[in-house]
């Protein structure tokens, strides 16, 4: 087929005004395609909006987002934790999202779509399931300040027995550091905001079991086999975080805490050994 104009070609192509048949065809066919697409869309919009928040068989989790960390409250079990959400593999997880400050968005890309956590009274719900056990990465999907990119969390899907053990372990009392100097510093400088076991304040992330979490601060990955800048052992990561939180997550609420080298070491060591067995 010839379409390219040769140099000096002065022929005038037929000036077609249009073609009613063709135009109707390419209007009607897309409409039919859209109906085919629209029906399942509407069905799943309503399907995904099902409310499991009153369902006793579902695990209820109230997710509260903060600049730049996540709080997970399990009202059925009376527990609260942070940064790492442990869920059983055999149940529906009913999520309720709110925000402690600005708007964030709760997203576990491998498991479910996202839902915003609005500021104020606009509480949202959603549900999902994790049929396979494993560790899933969670993200904040709504621009929420300088450390928006670093507001990661983890979701750990475990079998029902492990989940029950985790609940029980989280409720157990926690021993404070043995060294009196470290304990003094820990109680006066950390527990004013953070909690371990039944002691301390609840306005910032709960530290119970922080030694067995996958990350420190959501963004320093705990591993014994560090491959890149943000990986390290739990102890190294905790030390790095406590030394200068603003360097890891700019604009976060913790700020530098005045600690001596021994106190820093002692607290990092103590926290890295604060493990939950489940």
């Amino acid at each position: 087929m010839k379409f390219r104009r040769r140099r000096g070609d002065n022929t005038i192509p037929v000036q077609v005004e249009g073609n009613h048949k063709l135009e109707i065809v390419w209007t009607v066919i897309p409409i039919i395609l859209l109906i085919i697409l629209g029906v399942p869309t509407v069905q799943s919009v309503f399907g995904l909006s099902k409310d499991y928040s009153k369902d006793p068989d579902a695990v209820q989790v109230i997710v509260t987002s903060h600049q730049y960390w996540w709080e997970f409250e399990y009202p059925q079990f009376g527990i609260k934790t942070a940064q790492e959400m442990v869920i059983p593999t055999n149940a529906k997880i009913a999520i309720e999202t709110k925000s402690g400050d600005v708007k964030h968005s709760f997203w576990i890309p491998a498991l479910a779509g996202k839902i915003d956590s609005n500021a104020g009274a606009n509480v949202n719900t959603m549900y999902f399931e994790a049929p396979k056990p494993g560790v899933y990465l969670g993200k904040c999907a709504e621009l929420c300040g300088p450390s928006h990119a670093l507001m990661d969390f983890k979701v750990k899907a475990v079998d029902e027995a492990s989940f029950d053990r985790w609940i029980a372990a989280l409720k157990e009392p926690v021993e404070l550091p043995a060294d009196p100097a470290v304990r003094e510093a820990f109680v006066s400088k950390c527990l004013s905001c953070h909690a371990v076991g039944d002691q301390g304040g609840m306005i910032y992330p709960n530290l119970t079991g922080i030694g067995s979490r996958e990350t420190v601060g959501g963004i320093l990955v705990n591993t014994d086999d560090a491959k890149y800048a943000n990986e390290g052992t739990v102890y190294e990561n905790l030390k790095r975080w406590i030394e200068d939180p603003d360097k890891i997550k700019p604009g976060n609420g913790m700020g530098k805490v005045a600690l001596t080298e021994q106190e820093l070491d002692g607290i990092a060591k103590y926290l890295s050994e604060l493990k939950l067995d489940y």
Binding site: G18, S49, G113, A119, P146, K227
Partner: protein
């Protein structure tokens, strides 16, 4: 304010486009590898906010306005726009609004809450410095310019068409600008209201968006997107118009299905106002709203599809010339189709729960805005350059521009679809290693640099062309169909010495086919009325600029002084009679006049 001045204003608009592009390249450099430290997290948020705001408000729209200004009066056979004073005022308010916004880089921090500036992040509690104040006040001042432009073009197109130029004989570009102006007229007041409310919250401690005192943050999202969604159609419709003109000229064929094109444009404009909540599927509006807005959004695919088919069938059987303008127009079609397909994917709310605020969305809207609008603008600039400046752009450099820009564009944004599907959220400053994002981000950054090279090639082309003599023919592409090709290049300041008589659609083409040399005049030669140039719009805009600063820093004397300057100019304008001047017939002799 005369036509000559209207053309020279191109320069500052291009500069804003370059600033926005530079910001984009800095963003891509930061993201080329995991855990990069090229810019800080704060700086990154400033860059992404200013990139979005600059590109939408200060580059894309003003570049379109520049083309509209240059071409619309010519296409409808008018001597000027309906309100030259407003035109000039619109330009200066846009320029000073844009300047105000960019001054923020030097006064302690640019706005950093995203171009959407969602509250509470954009409120004073979480953005305590003046960054967002610059956004709120700069955009209000620049928005005046856009609104005035929209009103002006509506009035021009309705009232100033040459005899015989009925609505259904208007060129497609004129039609799309007409619909776009209507959209501006209805959409921009929503933005103004939202910005004013946010300004009151920020400057005077009002509580429109403060939940602690009964305000509601979702309200901002609604107001913003009631403006924001029509805004994308405000941008893309004129690009549709440009593509229609370019495809016809270089296929040497009449636009296929002209009347269905017109109605498709109207329908897109109308539906554009019905779909804003598809930006808010994850906000939690409930299943009824999500289902309705999903279906409404999908409907837009129908008129858009009609347009695509019509362009293809315009080329079908045509005698096609591959000039730079033509290449950009032909490249536009598949690119825009891809943006449209991802648009339908995003329209399905349950799927959007996964795509929303991920790089998939970033890829989608760059396909429609860069792949659609910017390619359209490039096509339009190469096509109309001789008519605006009397010189043909260099075709070889033009083709280099096209190839680098087109390949760079697809490299940058095609891979971003997959980054989004892999779970990379948008607006992130950095990402961890080992998530599978590394390779795709590197490709994307290389593509962005290629696009930068394409843009630089275009600038070189402009500079080289500016040094050449003004020798473009009246109808340099030889297949011009519309009125602008009937007069000299560049157009004289009065456009048409004698208003032409329009005898059909594609007015000039009809005369050519009937064997006539040029248009038949509709009036005898007479003296031509011209508006006088005026300094007042400039001073008014300076007044607004000063007032903006005054209010931002709570210095109400300076704020009041700025407003007094503006109102004084308005009084002078109202009281002083200026009837303009006339160009007499004897001054026109030998300039293509037919007695």
């Amino acid at each position: 304010m005369t036509i000559k001045n209207r053309h020279s204003v191109f320069d500052c608009r291009r500069i804003f486009f370059l600033i926005g592009g530079l910001e984009a390249i800095l963003i891509r450099i930061q993201l080329w590898k995991p855990l990069n430290n090229f810019v800080s997290a704060d700086m990154f948020n400033e860059l992404l906010t200013m990139h979005g705001t600059t590109m939408i408000f200060l580059a894309a729209m003003p570049l379109l306005f520049a083309l509209m200004n240059a071409i619309i009066p010519l296409q409808i056979g008018a001597r000027d726009v309906a309100f030259p004073f407003l035109n000039s005022l619109g330009f200066w308010t846009f320029l000073f609004g844009g300047l105000l916004l960019n001054v923020s880089w030097f006064t302690g921090g640019a706005p950093d809450a995203g171009w959407t500036s969602y509250v509470p992040l954009a409120g004073t509690t979480y953005s305590g410095d003046h960054g967002v104040d610059y956004y709120v006040i700069g955009l209000q001042i620049a928005g005046i310019g856009t609104l005035l432009g929209g009103i002006n073009f509506m009035a021009t197109i309705i009232n100033m068409r040459a005899p015989g130029m009925s609505f259904m004989r208007m060129p497609m570009f004129t039609w799309t600008v007409f619909i776009t102006s209507a959209l501006i007229l209805f959409a921009f007041p929503a933005l103004t209201v939202g910005l004013a409310a946010l300004m009151f919250d920020r400057l005077f401690d009002a509580n429109f968006f403060n939940p602690a005192n009964g305000g509601n943050t979702i309200l901002w999202e609604h107001i913003f997107w009631i403006f924001g969604h029509p805004e994308v159609y405000i941008l893309i419709l004129p690009a549709f118009g440009i593509i229609s003109e370019v495809v016809c000229t270089f296929s040497r064929k009449r636009l296929f299905g002209y009347s269905s094109m017109v109605f498709a444009t109207m329908l897109i404009g109308f539906l554009g106002f019905m779909v804003w909540a598809h930006h808010m599927f994850t906000t939690g509006l409930g299943p009824v709203a999500n289902a309705l807005f999903s279906i409404a959004t999908m409907l837009i695919a129908v008129p858009t599809g009609i347009k695509i088919f019509n362009w293809i069938f315009t080329m079908w059987g045509g005698s096609i010339r591959f000039t730079t303008a033509s290449l950009f127009a032909i490249g536009f079609i598949p690119t825009f189709v891809m943006g449209g397909v991802t648009g339908v994917m995003l329209a399905a709310a349950p799927a959007d729960f996964q795509y929303h605020d991920s790089y998939f969305v970033v890829a989608h809207f760059h396909y429609v805005i860069v792949g659609g609008l910017i390619m359209g603008i490039f096509a339009g600039l190469h096509y109309w350059w001789p008519k605006m400046f009397g010189r043909m752009l260099n075709e070889t450099i033009g083709k280099i521009t096209f190839v680098t820009f087109f390949i760079g564009f697809h490299m940058t944004f095609f891979v971003q679809h997959f980054l989004g599907l892999l779970g990379m959220p948008r607006r992130i400053w950095t990402y961890l290693d080992g998530l599978g994002f590394n390779g795709l981000n590197l490709i994307s950054t290389i593509g962005a640099i290629l696009m930068g090279i394409g843009t630089v090639a275009f600038l070189i082309n402009i500079v080289i062309t500016a040094a050449k003599p003004r020798n473009a023919a009246d109808d340099p592409w030889e297949d011009g169909r519309t009125l602008e090709w009937a007069i000299s290049s560049p157009a004289p300041e009065y456009n048409f010495a004698q208003t032409p008589l329009v005898r059909g659609y594609d007015a000039l083409w009809k005369e050519k086919m009937d064997g006539n040399k040029g248009m038949t005049p509709a009036e005898p030669l007479g003296s031509i009325h011209m508006p006088s140039p005026s300094i007042l719009p400039f001073i008014m805009s300076v007044g607004l600029f000063i007032a903006g600063f005054g209010f931002m820093y709570h210095n109400y004397y300076i704020g009041a002084a700025g407003l007094i300057i503006m109102f004084a100019c308005m009084v002078i304008r109202s009281v002083k009679d200026d009837h303009g001047f006339h160009i007499e017939p004897d001054e026109l002799q030998g300039k293509g006049v037919k007695a």
